[in-house]
Amino acid sequence: MNWFQKYSPTNIKEVLSQPTTSLINHAEANPKAKALLIHGPTGCGKTCSIHSLKGHGYELVEINASDVRNAEVIKSVIGNASVTMGLFGKRVILIDDVDAFSDRGGITELIKVIKSTKTPIFLTAIDPWSKKLRTLRGYCKMVEFKKLRSSTIKLLLRRICDKEQVKANDSVLYSIASHANGDLRAAINNLEMLSGDGEVTEFELEAMGYREKPVSIFNGLQTLFKTTDFFEAIHSLDDVNLDFPTKLLWITENITNEFSNNSELAKAFNSLSRADVFNGRIIRQQYWRLLVYVNSLMTAGVNLSREQPSGFVKYKNPTKILKLWRSKSKRELKKQLALKLKPSVHASINKVLQEVIPFINLMARNKEFVKEYELTTDELSVLTK
C-alpha cells in the first residue's frame, strides 16, 4: 500500500482546512433533497473526505471515472442503492469527477436518480462550471474545497515522516510542499519516492531537477568573469533574478576587482558601453529582440576581455543607486531654485543652472540677496558645499 492510501484519513476530522461539517450535515440530512457537489483542485481532499465517512460507520457505494458511466450503469449501480437501505442502515453514494462524464445520457440518468434518492449522494468535480454540468447544478448544493496551503501540506508531510522514521529538515519538506502547489497527493507521493534511504536532503531535491533554485548574482558573476566556455558565459546570468540594468550595475561595480590591467578594463568597458547603447535603443523603440545583444555583450563580451587569469574576488553590492537616490532631492532643489530665478535672468532653466546657480552660494552671502529672491533654508543648504 502506498503512503497516500496508508495515511488517507479514517475520520473526517482529520481532513484539514476544508468545510467538512457541511459533508457530515449532508450525510445525515433528511430528506435527501439534492446532491452535494464538492468542487476544488486536484489533491485537496474531495474524494478522501467522503472515503473517511467509512470510519463513521457509513457504507460507501462509489462510481468513479475509471468505471463506464453510461445511463445503464448509473441506473443499475446507483439507482438501486439510492432507494434501498444499506446493510447496516447508513449508506452514502459517491460519484467522482462528474465533470469528466463523457456520456450525456449518464448525467440525465443521474439527475433522475437524485430526484428520487433516499440515500445521500455526493458528487465531486474539479471544474463545476463546465457547460455539461449546467442542468445538473440545478439539483446540487455546492461546497468548495480550497487549494491546500504549503504550510498545511508541510505539517502533514512531517507527521508522515515521523511515522515512517524518515529524516528530513523543515526546509526540505517545505520545498516538497510548495512544489506540489496545493496537491497533497502529489506531495505525499513525492516524499515517498524521495525517501528511499530513510532521509531526504537538499541534494536529493536537486538531483530530481526538482528545485529550480535561482542563481545568486554572486555565483552568476563568478561564472561570467571566470568561465572559459563561451556559452557558459552567455548564460551565466540567465537564472539570476534581476533585470538587465541592475545586472549591468553589478558588473560595472565589480569589474575593477576582476580586471586589474588597463587594457582589459578598456575592452570590457567598451563592451558594456555597447550593451548600454542597445539597451537605450530598446527603451526608445521597444524593440526587445535587441536584448540578445545586450546580454551577449555584457556577458561574453566582458568575459573575453580577459588577458590574464585573476584570483579569488569577493563581489560587492553596487552602491551607486543609493548615492544617486540621495542626490536626487538635491538636483530637484536646484531646479526649483533655477525656476525661481528664471524670470530675472531671462534664460532657460538649463542656462540658469549652468551659469547662475554655481555662483549663487557666493551671492547668497549677502542677506539682502537671500531676501530679494526669498531663498529658503532648504535651497541654501544644497548650495553650501
Binding site: 588597463n262 548600454d276 544617486l324
Partner: protein, 317 residues
C-alpha cells in the same frame, strides 16, 4: 539686492552695450512703428534678449507687457508650444496704437525641425498681427525658410575694452574697488559674455568689496569644477578606479548631468598640455562616447567606459 544681470539690464535700446550698429537699425524700426520678423544670432551674453525686450518697451511703452510674449524654446521645445501657446497669442489683436504684437522666442535653435516648420506657417499666417523675434546662438540651426522671412542680426561678442568699461561703471555704482588687472581677469574668464561677467563680478563683490585678480579666478572656477581636470589626469595615468569614483562624486556634488560632464571633459582635453596627436585621439573617443551616451540609457556607465579608454590611448603614442 537683486541679481545684477537683472538690476543692470538696459531698459531702452540706447543703453544696450557694445552693439552700436545693430541698435541704430533697431531704433529706426521702433521709430517707424514697423518691424520685420527678426532673427538675432550670436553668442551668449551679447544683448539679444535684452534688445528684444527694449524694442517691446519702446514700441508699446505702458502696454508693453500685454503686447509682448517671451517664451524659451529650450524649456518648451515641442511642437505643441508652437501650435498652442504661440498661436494663441499670435492670432489675437494687439492693444494700443501699434497694429502688431511681438513674440520673443529665446534659444530658438533648440526647437525641433518639426516645430520650426510649424512656426514658419504661423509666422506667415499671422504676419499682420504679430512679429517674431527669434534668438539663437547659431543661425545655421534655424531652417532656411524661417531665415529668409527674417531680418538677420549677428551680435558680436563684446571686446575687452568695452567689457572693462562696462564693469567699471557697475563697480562704481556698487561701491566696488578693483585692484590691478582684476577687471581684465573678469574679461578673460567670461570672454565677452556680459551675463557671465556680471555674475562673476557680483559673486566677487559678495566676498569682498575690494576685488583682485586671484579672487576673480577663484570665483570663476566655481562654474567649472577643478576636480574634473584631476579626473582626466588620473584616467590618463591609468588610475581608473580613482578617476571613476572621483568623477561620480563630482557629478553628484555639482549636480552635473552626463552630458554636462562629458562637455567639460572635452574642453579640458582641448587645453591639456600634451601631444596634439594624442589630443585628437582622445577627442575622437570622447565624441564617440558622447554619441553613445545619447543613444544609450546609463550615462554613468558611458562615462566610466570613456575613462577606461584613456590610458590605452595615451600609451599608443
Amino acid at each position: 539686492m537683486k541679481l545684477w544681470v537683472e538690476k543692470y539690464r538696459p531698459q531702452v535700446l540706447n543703453d544696450v552695450f557694445g552693439q552700436t550698429s545693430i541698435v541704430k537699425r533697431l531704433k529706426s524700426f521702433v521709430k517707424n512703428k514697423n518691424l520685420p520678423h527678426l532673427l538675432f544670432s550670436g553668442p551668449a551674453g551679447t544683448g539679444k534678449t535684452t534688445s528684444a525686450m527694449c524694442i517691446a518697451r519702446e514700441l508699446y511703452s505702458d502696454n508693453w507687457q500685454m503686447n509682448f510674449m517671451e517664451t524659451n524654446a529650450s524649456d518648451e521645445r515641442g511642437i505643441d508650444v508652437v501650435r498652442g501657446k504661440i498661436k494663441d497669442f499670435a492670432r489675437t489683436m494687439p492693444l494700443g496704437d501699434v497694429n502688431f504684437k511681438v513674440i520673443l522666442l529665446d534659444e530658438a535653435d533648440s526647437l525641433t525641425k518639426d516645430a520650426q516648420h510649424a512656426l514658419r506657417r504661423t509666422m506667415e499666417k499671422y504676419a499682420t498681427t504679430c512679429r517674431f523675434i527669434l534668438d539663437c546662438n547659431y543661425s545655421s540651426k534655424i531652417i532656411d525658410p524661417i531665415q529668409s522671412r527674417c531680418a538677420v542680426f549677428r551680435f558680436k561678442p563684446l571686446t575687452e575694452p568695452s567689457v572693462i568699461e562696462y564693469l567699471k561703471e557697475v563697480s562704481e555704482k556698487e561701491g566696488l574697488k578693483s585692484e590691478g588687472n582684476a577687471l581684465s581677469a573678469v574679461y578673460q574668464v567670461s570672454q565677452g559674455d556680459l551675463r557671465k561677467a556680471l555674475n562673476i563680478l557680483q559673486s566677487c563683490g559678495s566676498v569682498s568689496k575690494t576685488i583682485n585678480e586671484s579672487l576673480v579666478f577663484e570665483v570663476a572656477s566655481y562654474a567649472q569644477p577643478k576636480e574634473l581636470e584631476k579626473v582626466v589626469t588620473l584616467a590618463l595615468k591609468g588610475s581608473f578606479s580613482q578617476a571613476r569614483s572621483l568623477l561620480f562624486d563630482v557629478m553628484l556634488k555639482y549636480g552635473l548631468s552626463g552630458i554636462d560632464a562629458i562637455k567639460q571633459i572635452q574642453s579640458i582635453i582641448m587645453t591639456l598640455k600634451t601631444d596634439d596627436k594624442l589630443k585628437v585621439r582622445l577627442l575622437d573617443r570622447v565624441g564617440e562616447y558622447e554619441f553613445r551616451m545619447v543613444e544609450g540609457s546609463d550615462e554613468f556607465l558611458q562615462l566610466d567606459a570613456l575613462l577606461a579608454q584613456f590610458y590605452i590611448l595615451g600609451r599608443e603614442s
